[in-house]
């Protein structure tokens, strides 16, 4: 039972990270119908920027660890959001009127570009997050030890998701985003500047992805230049699991996938852990292509 609860916490922590990355995929897909293959690499960049910023700011010891980490996370969010916006401007906007396949290839090109840029800047070796950044406090809950950082990660990701949920559902801009996702032409007729909405989506999505990158560094300690691919693909699986284009769906899908993967690795098989999530992906697409919460049926079969 103890082990199960521990795995549950692990699953929710990684699930929250998947969910944050999945939000970037699902929002972009909702508005542009484009799979942003470079999103996973923006997430990687977030992880590396977090480490570099923390080290170069030299905050360790001067301010409490949580304050330093929060500051770094906010800065990473801003920087990666900017990068996402640049990416949309340079690689996707010129292809808006062209076919979707050319945008997909452009996204793949961007992914290759970012991945190799990270490798050139930071090197091909693994990096370890500094110990001062991830305090190893153990919380004793229900008679078992749980790393405090995991609880913080879960709380932070839920908080970010709630904030986004509020923004999308309760503000004018959020409404505009939803409108643009449903019908761009009609949104334009209602006076919504769709280009700016798309730019906004490319600020929010990568921003959240960048924070998720920092969270991975905090949870596992280890980051590598090519981790964006597997995290990205799993986050995308999560987005589909919940229903692509659906924001609560991405949150639910992320959490579910994190749990499935962690529990599967713990109780079934470690070597097939990655295959498990892809199997879930294929099964969900065969059985229910719209995902769990997706209500809009595929427009053309």
């Amino acid at each position: 039972m103890d082990q199960f609860l521990q795995q549950l916490v692990n699953g929710l922590a990684i699930g929250g990270i998947y969910a944050l990355v999945a939000l970037g995929y699902t929002m972009v897909y909702g508005v542009l119908k484009l799979i942003n293959f470079a999103h996973g690499d923006l997430f990687t960049i977030g992880a590396y920027l977090g480490m570099t910023l923390f080290v170069s700011l030299g905050l360790a010891g001067k301010v409490p660890a949580w304050a330093a980490v929060t500051l770094v996370a906010v800065m990473v969010m801003g920087l990666v959001a900017l990068l996402g916006w640049l990416l949309e401007r340079a690689a996707y906007r010129p292809l808006r009127s062209a076919g979707r396949l050319s945008a997909v290839v452009s996204a793949l090109g961007a992914s290759i570009f970012f991945q190799n840029a990270v490798m050139l800047i930071w090197g091909a070796k693994y990096y370890v997050y500094p110990e001062t950044m991830r305090p190893d406090t153990i919380l004793h809950l229900f008679g078992m030890g749980i790393p405090a950082i995991r609880i913080v990660i879960i709380a932070a990701s839920v908080l970010l998701m709630l904030a986004l949920y509020w923004f999308i559902n309760r503000t004018r801009l959020g409404t505009a985003i939803r409108a643009a996702a449903i019908d761009q032409g009609a949104a334009r007729l209602m006076g919504i500047n769709v280009d700016r909405i798309i730019a906004l989506v490319f600020l929010i999505g990568p921003g959240l992805g960048g924070v998720a990158g920092v969270m991975v560094g905090l949870t596992y300690g280890q980051i590598s230049f090519d981790m964006g691919f597997s995290y990205g693909l799993k986050a995308f699986t999560a987005a589909i699991l919940g229903g692509i284009g659906n924001i609560p769906g991405a949150m639910l899908g992320g959490m579910l996938l994190g749990l499935i993967e962690t529990l599967g690795a713990a109780y079934l098989t470690m070597a097939w852990k990655d295959a498990l999530s892809f199997l879930v992906l294929i099964l969900i697409l065969i059985i229910r292509p719209t995902g769990i919460l997706g209500e809009r049926v595929a427009e053309k079969l």
């Binding site: 340079a90 062209a98 693909l233 294929i282 697409l285 065969i286 292509p289 595929a298």
Partner: protein, 371 residues
């Protein structure tokens, strides 16, 4: 949308944009002969390194052409083509190293295994819409790679792969030198091009084009869309499996790292970059598999430059280098036969509607019933 609009419509906005790159019909045969001659002479003047590069490019061209049947001609978003390539290569390696079956005899077996695998995995997903299919095929290629790495039943040799695959033999002549492989693989490319050119102009190929342009309209025209899509998928996989045999024979060692998602991405990029026509896809494969070699001067940064080049090329030419020419049909013969009162004979005599004209407007009309 009016009829000429439909005819000129390409997936990516206007096939006619590719026209200025297109050769006049009279020059096509000489151009093909020239290309063949150049490819035949090249290895005599290249050093061993470049021969090796060209062998890899040749394999890339064959794979891209096989993917083109699925992606370029039918419009099925398949981003897991390396999975079928892997099945072919592993079937070859296992049968050769365990049972000593000569490598080239395994070509049909490898193709059949890949085709069967494609049939099984594609059957339940073929009806999915574009992007969903793209993601499922990524899932398939990853599952195949993980399976190969996990070494089920000790068959695939895990992460190290399988080594000691025998060299191929043709009529008692062992192929081991780079230049021999060059001729073997580019000979394979030649066969591939001929076959797929014939296929493109067949009833089957026309059905695929029709599905790509509009699958609902195709269904309305009586084309069994699901069946044709599946057949295109299986055919492309078959050819990729056979290419896998050549790859295994060339390398003598194969491992899961040769069949990753990124290898599928390169093939996908080659087809989209090429635009979907045979010539275009060959050029696309040359760019995708040759550019990183040319960028070797950038050393570490070559893939960075490659990613950048991919983006720039798509922005400059979103429809690809050479999209397929719109099929043109000379219907004047049909109307001529109508005018001369031979209308009742047109299904037999008026073959104009059955064959594509390949852009040659001067082709004699098919209405022989009129004379």
């Amino acid at each position: 949308m009016s009829a000429p609009d439909v005819l000129n419509k390409a997936r990516n906005g206007g096939t006619d944009a590719g026209r200025r790159f297109r050769l006049p019909p009279a020059l096509r045969v000489p151009a093909v002969l020239l290309a063949v001659a150049v490819m035949a002479v090249l290895p005599r003047i290249m050093n061993l390194y470049w021969i090796d590069v060209f062998v890899s490019i040749g394999l890339g061209v064959m794979l891209s052409l096989s993917l083109n049947v699925i992606l370029g001609q039918t419009g099925i978003f398949n981003m897991g083509h390396a999975a079928f390539y892997a099945v072919g290569a592993y079937v070859t390696a296992i049968l050769n190293t365990r049972f000593g079956v000569p490598v080239l005899w395994l070509l049909p077996a490898a193709g059949a295994a890949a085709a069967l695998f494609a049939l099984v995995v594609a059957r339940p997903i073929i009806h999915l819409r574009g992007d969903y299919l793209l993601v499922v095929t990524i899932g398939i290629v990853e599952i195949v790679r993980i399976t190969l790495t996990n070494d089920p039943g000790g068959l695939t040799g895990g992460a190290n792969g399988i080594f000691g695959i025998a060299r191929p033999e043709i009529f008692g002549m062992k192929i081991r030198k780079g230049i021999d492989f060059y001729y073997l693989i580019w000979g394979g490319v030649g066969v591939t091009v001929l076959l797929f050119w014939w296929l493109h102009n067949s009833r089957f190929g026309r059905a695929l084009s029709c599905i790509r342009e509009d699958d609902i309209a195709a269904e309305g025209c009586g084309i069994d869309v699901a069946h044709y899509k599946l057949m295109a998928f299986v055919l492309g996989a078959f050819w990729a499996g056979m290419t896998g045999t050549l790859f295994a024979a060339k390398m003598t060692i194969i491992s899961p790292s040769s069949f990753t998602f990124w290898d599928s991405v390169l093939l996908f990029a080659a087809v989209i970059l090429g635009g979907g026509s045979l010539t275009g896809v060959i050029l696309g494969a040359f760019l995708v598999f040759g550019l990183p070699e040319i960028f070797r001067d950038f050393a570490q940064a070559r893939m960075l430059v490659f990613g950048l080049a991919l983006m720039i090329m798509m922005i400059i030419r979103p429809q690809g280098i050479l999209p397929p020419a719109p099929r043109r049909y000379d219907v004047s013969g049909f109307f001529a036969s109508r005018r001369s009162g031979a209308a009742e004979t047109w299904p037999a005599g008026g073959s104009a509607l059955n064959g594509p004209d390949d852009g040659t407007d001067a082709k004699p009309a098919g209405g022989r019933g009129a004379s």
